[in-house]
């Protein structure tokens, strides 16, 4: 369709509205209620344009379908007058409190009032005042500022899938809110702050902290789940003040999960800002020299097989590579990145990645979830499944094996143990029939389902279900592993796994090694480490690992280093340094490089470029950041494991709460408050 906007002719796809056509022509249309990822409400009236041969009145472009040959004027006298009129009405009841409003400087209303506002108000009456609403510990409300665009209402109902906000009463008395006030039960609620065009919904933890123009903005990657959401880190001086999503339609669209957004106050608490060495049973502060010396002294004379290393869930690929190389130089093959003890078959990459890709979920027409609660393990993946479910008007068949939960879309639960998986072999099953009838069926195997005694059997059985029911075709790969640890896929790509005759984590515990190097590993039971084992903890938080350590080497958190992360899809992404790590802390690969020199086994790289070159040499996937090529399944050979060895033990999910799953979020007071309020509500809802 050809549409002419202010003399510029553009081609737009059928189904576009006039606003989209104007954008295609490069014309900015002011809007408050229209949002391209939400349904069209058409109630703010700010996007008025003039259309030739249409009714001779201003037309709201967001709700008017574009047609072939349409001629649109976005800057005529009538349009300007109409928008000025709308702005005047919007400002009638909007307070003039920009100087004390957190939205100031990044407010759509403020910006557009510069273009369409009057220099004075003709309204002499009292402005309306609206009582603020309680929405939980994350969102602060100043409802007098609300202009009733209803974006938050539509977001909660459509994207988040928790219809808890609405517009009650009418006319002058209309109020946006939950009516019954309690914390929102969404893991995506922070996005309402972003989409609110005014200062009605702002971040509670960030209230009155900074102005946007004071912030230094750094693009980075989130590591608090394995989605690899693209983020922007806003810092002032040495402090990270805010984390916002960046648009990446392949990964997080423009959303960010609450933990990733709000756990940042954990970055300032319980930090390891110096080296510590245990002397006479107590950790005492030390210099780098002393700390390195203590480790070197313990290493002296140790055989390689008595040394082990474990990589944690937040580790960047560079540091894991450096640790792997260091261990190799010491003659150790005792490496593991799987603190949960899960199985992994790294003989092929599609055995451990999310092959359909996150964006690919939008093509799926049947979904099987195995041992996972994506709402907690990857809220943005869950939002994609819901998006697909919404797009199919609720007719996307979703089956679940595992503990039943409210995932914001309809799920048919088939049972909570692998028996239900085995039962899918019966072609008479409704679920099996649905998978076979689908053109693009997919299954999502939770990482938690592999962290079991029969994990290999679960992996093989899931693959078998995929192979037998048409999930694997030359142009569609419907087998997906959903990880929740940001470091996991990168670690598997780097083969941070037991080498030949190497021990897995379980073998290193109970005295299996004499020196254990923990790279930010906090998620296993430290009591299982043998009493005689010398523990080096390299990381950024004083969490479980540091408490057990004999030497602590202070590392950098993800906001404080340049790092490569591979998300659950296998997408290689780079995070960038935003602020300096505190005190003595340093970037992790540099610590390992420095230590290697200290013990005369110098690692062959001095700059991050050289580290990355070595990563590429080890696995060519690291040469192609930011892309995640879609591919079909050409080879149906199953991963190792005997599908018949399934047990009847129910699947257990890796998390009991969404909000505190790693050292950063455990140190975050905001997340603790969420556990106390939202988490409890959500668990109660799930139990019903």
């Amino acid at each position: 369709m050809k549409v002419t906007v202010d003399g510029i002719t553009v081609e737009v796809p059928p189904g576009s509205n006039v606003l989209q056509a104007c954008e295609a022509a490069g014309k900015e249309i002011p809007r408050f209620c229209y949002h391209d990822r939400l349904s069209v409400a058409g109630n703010c009236r700010m996007c008025l344009v003039e259309i030739e041969k249409a009714p001779p009145k201003p037309i709201s472009s967001c709700s008017y379908p574009a047609a072939d040959g349409m001629v649109v004027h976005t800057d005529s006298k009538m349009v300007r007058a109409a928008r000025r009129g709308v702005m005047e009405f919007l400002l009638i009841n909007h307070p003039l409190d920009c100087p004390i409003c957190d939205q100031g400087g990044e407010c759509d209303l403020q910006d557009q009032a510069m273009g369409y506002g009057m220099d004075h108000s003709r309204y002499a009456e009292n402005k309306r005042a609206v009582a603020d609403k309680y929405l939980g510990p994350l969102i602060k409300t100043v409802m007098t500022r609300c202009i009733h665009c209803t974006r938050c209402i539509r977001f909660s109902a459509e994207i988040a899938g928790v219809p808890e906000l609405g517009a009650t009463s009418r006319g002058e008395s209309m109020e946006v809110g939950p009516y019954v006030e309690r914390a929102l039960t969404s893991e995506l609620s922070g996005n309402m702050i972003d989409i609110c065009p005014v200062g009605a919904l702002t971040s509670k933890p960030y209230a009155f902290v900074a102005r946007p123009w004071e912030l230094r903005k750094t693009d980075s990657i989130d590591v608090l789940d394995a989605v690899g959401a693209n983020i922007r880190i806003d810092a002032r001086g040495p402090e990270v003040l805010r984390i916002l999503p960046r648009v990446n339609d392949d990964v997080n669209e423009e959303w960010l999960a609450d933990k990733s957004r709000f756990a940042l106050d954990g970055l300032k608490r319980r930090r390891l800002d110096g080296c510590w060495v245990r002397r006479d049973g107590r950790l005492v502060r030390s210099s780098w020299e002393e700390a390195f010396g203590a480790i070197a002294a313990r290493l002296h004379g140790l055989r390689g097989d008595r040394i082990g290393a474990v990589a944690g869930n937040l580790a960047d690929c560079e540091s894991m590579l450096a640790l792997r190389d260091l261990m190799a130089s010491l003659g150790s093959a005792n490496l593991d990145c799987r603190q949960d003890g899960s199985v992994a078959d790294v003989s092929r990459r599609d055995f451990y990645t999310f092959n359909t890709t996150i964006a690919g979920i939008e093509e799926a027409d049947a979904v099987l979830l195995i041992g996972t609660n994506p709402r907690h393990e990857a809220p943005l993946v869950n939002a994609r499944i819901r998006k697909r479910w919404m797009a199919l008007a609720g007719r996307l068949p979703v089956f679940g094996i595992g503990p039943a939960a409210d995932l914001t879309y309809h799920v048919t639960w088939l049972g909570d143990s692998p028996r239900a998986l085995a039962a899918l072999a019966d072609p008479g099953q409704a679920a099996t029939q649905a998978l076979r009838a689908a053109k693009r069926p997919m299954l999502i195997l939770g990482a938690g389902a592999l962290a079991r005694a029969d994990g290999a059997a679960v992996l093989a059985a899931a693959w078998q279900v995929a192979a037998e029911n048409g999930l694997l075709t030359p142009d569609w790969h419907g087998f997906n592993v959903l990880h929740h640890a940001a470091a996991r896929v990168g670690a598997l790509d780097l083969r941070f796994l037991p080498g030949p005759r190497g021990k897995p984590l379980a073998g290193m515990l109970e005295g299996g090694v004499d020196l254990l190097w923990l790279l930010g590993a906090d998620e296993f039971d430290m009591a299982r480490i043998g009493a005689g084992t010398f523990v080096v903890y390299q990381g950024h938080h004083g969490d479980r690992g540091a408490a057990r350590a004999d030497v602590i080497l202070p590392g950098a958190a993800y906001t404080e280093k340049n790092g490569t992360y591979v998300n659950t899809e296998g997408r290689v992404q780079r995070g960038y340094f935003a602020v300096y790590p505190p005190g003595q802390a340093r970037e992790d690969w540099k610590i390992l490089r420095a230590f290697s020199e200290h013990i005369d086994r110098r690692l062959p790289y001095d700059a991050i470029g050289a580290v990355r070159a070595r990563m590429e040499q080890l696995n060519p996937v690291f040469a192609r950041p930011d892309v995640s090529p879609r591919f079909g399944a050409s080879d149906l050979t199953a991963p190792q494991g005997d599908a018949a060895a399934l047990t009847g033990a129910p699947f257990v999910l890796p998390f009991t709460t969404y909000y505190q799953t790693d050292p950063i979020s455990r140190a975050s007071p905001t997340m603790a408050e969420c556990v106390a309020t939202v988490g409890r509500t959500a668990l109660a809802v799930a139990a019903e």
């Binding site: 219809p163 609405g166 009650t168 009463s169 019954v180």
Partner: protein
């Protein structure tokens, strides 16, 4: 907001309501039960009138409606607070809804309002009389302008009102009587006062008048 008033902790539909709801829901295609939200809210309000003497919809009743129709509670709150026919706070035994829109006002609704105030002691719109008998609300056009002014008592229209008739009606309601609804001037429907003025003779077959 709902928090300001005392809300009953629970609400359950009684047998009469359930029968009515089943009849209402049957009108809509399967999966479209949410369309029944307004009539079902009326059922809930009527049940409150039967059980407590006050026709209102407490929050628990809205939740019950939501559960019954399989819709999120907030969607029911939105409807119930939007339409003024649903009372989201307790009201008196009788709900006096005086129309003050232009036709009724031209025909003397001020008189009706004054008579209501005088007879009930209510001073402001939305107030309930001290004896709990009456709540008075100002409503917009009730769509019966030809018989203006209108005083709607609960679900009944009392038409052609004036001060005297209002006083008599309220006195009867106080006594527990329920005068027949309709024109208080004795008109049949909205036919002219004092009998018909047209079509007085039977039409002649094939001819005009």
């Amino acid at each position: 907001m709902a928090e300001e008033i005392e809300q009953p902790a629970a609400f359950a539909f009684d047998a009469a309501s359930e029968a009515e709801i089943a009849r209402i829901i049957a009108k809509y295609p399967p999966g479209r039960q949410a369309s029944a939200v307004i009539p079902v809210l009326y059922v809930a309000q009527a049940q409150m009138r039967r059980s407590s003497g006050s026709a209102w919809v407490p929050r628990a009743a809205m939740d019950a409606v939501a559960a019954r129709l399989g819709m999120p509670p907030i969607r029911v709150y939105e409807v119930a607070t939007f339409y003024l026919m649903f009372n989201t706070r307790p009201i008196g035994r009788h709900h006096l809804q005086v129309c003050t829109t232009t036709p009724c006002w031209l025909r003397g609704s001020d008189e009706v309002v004054a008579a209501c105030r005088e007879a009930t002691g209510i001073r402001h719109w939305g107030e309930t009389s001290a004896d709990g008998m009456f709540t008075m609300t100002e409503v917009e056009c009730l769509g019966a302008c030809v018989n203006a002014p209108i005083l709607q008592v609960d679900d009944d229209y009392y038409e052609d009102m004036d001060a005297e008739r209002t006083r008599a009606l309220l006195a009867a309601l106080r006594r527990g009587e329920r005068p027949p609804a309709g024109s208080m001037a004795g008109r049949q429907g909205s036919a002219p006062e004092g009998g018909p003025t047209t079509l007085l003779t039977p039409a002649q077959p094939g001819g005009a008048e």
